[in-house]
């Protein structure tokens, strides 16, 4: 039986401080702060508006049902784009940059489910005048199911 969908209610975070990458203490195995987003039309429609993503299964629960899902599903490119936001929040967009983001889909992001993305440092190297930090990335829903796996790199001036 599918669970009843309950629209989420937003309580925008206030004064939350996201810890930034600290190159003095950075080491392989470090976990970076997670990024959480509700699976909701409030977010999906904003992304649809800027990226022209209007497939029916992103906009309408009945289309999602028709395709075999519990409800509408979130856009894969949005999950990929949010991995960039996850990395920027950690590296600091004024200081570093996102150099690479790879992602493979495992399960759909069902409307009403919360997405939490995270990452772990896997390697650190210098290349071309930059400090390159490699990470393993993932995105899970609030049932603990893995929706995406991937890898990323951020770059800072060496």
């Amino acid at each position: 039986m599918t669970e009843t969908y309950i629209p989420s209610v937003y309580v925008p975070p206030t004064g939350a401080v996201v810890p930034k990458l600290d190159r003095k203490t950075l080491k392989v195995g470090d976990l970076i702060p997670t990024l959480t987003r509700p699976g909701d039309y409030q977010l999906w429609n904003r992304y649809a508006a800027v990226n022209h993503e209007f497939a029916g299964h992103h906009m309408d629960d009945s289309v999602g049902h028709h395709e075999g899902f519990e409800a509408a599903i979130g856009m894969g490119p949005f999950i990929h784009a949010l991995l960039h936001t996850l990395l920027r929040e950690w590296v600091g967009e004024d200081v570093g940059r996102v150099a690479k983001v790879g992602m493979q889909s495992r399960r759909p992001w069902i409307r009403g489910r919360t997405l939490t993305e995270g990452g772990k440092v896997t390697a650190i190297r210098e290349e071309g005048g930059e400090l390159i930090v490699s990470l393993e990335l993932w995105g899970d829903n609030d049932k603990g199911e893995r929706l995406v796996i991937g890898e990323g790199e951020v770059a800072l001036p060496a």
Binding site: Q42, R46, H52, V101, S105
Partner: protein, 173 residues
């Protein structure tokens, strides 16, 4: 009947060929601002993406777009009147003018984007050139699956490489 391969000689010979090109309109700061709001909602996006005075004080020297920004959403400058995703096909054979099997399904499998460090800025015009990077096959629960890799290279008006993306599409009969 067992299908031994989904890759015809014509398809194999087409690997490496470019088959789709596009040019963006000049990037507008409004588009960057809107994109950043969508990426950070319900939080406020960083000032780097909407406050020109602030952005000038950073290492970037002015407004830049978030790395994942898509200047080809909605209409493109070239081909003229092209409405973007609805006008393009993720599978390459149609554009290459070669036959391919009549596949039942097309599924997004994965995407790897490499950003070179050349940032997209207001006024930039981005060109996209897509090539067929390769095919490979794998047996799956639904039979033989064809993986098609497309590579999309973006350059700016100075000819600088901005990003390279490789995406995989799964198709089966």
């Amino acid at each position: 009947m067992t299908v031994e391969t989904l890759i015809s000689p014509e398809m194999a010979a087409a690997v490496g060929r470019e088959y789709e090109w596009a040019t963006s309109y000049p990037i507008d700061p409004v588009s960057i601002r809107n994109w950043s709001v969508a990426m950070y909602y319900p939080e406020k996006p960083p000032r780097l993406y909407w406050d020109e005075d602030y952005a000038r004080t950073t290492r970037w020297g002015g407004l830049v777009a978030p790395e994942e920004f898509n200047p080809f959403a909605w209409m493109r400058a070239d081909p003229p009147g092209n409405m973007g995703p609805e006008a393009s096909r993720p599978w390459p054979e149609l554009n290459l003018g070669i036959p391919c099997p009549d596949f039942k399904a097309n599924i997004f499998a994965g995407l790897v984007v490499t950003h070179t460090g050349v940032r997209m800025r207001p006024g930039d015009v981005i060109k996209s050139a897509v090539n067929l990077a390769g095919y490979h096959e794998k047996q799956g629960r639904l039979g033989l699956m064809l993986f098609t890799t497309r590579e999309d290279r973006w350059t700016n008006q100075k000819g600088e490489l901005v990003r390279v993306s490789r995406s995989d599409l799964i198709r089966y009969l």
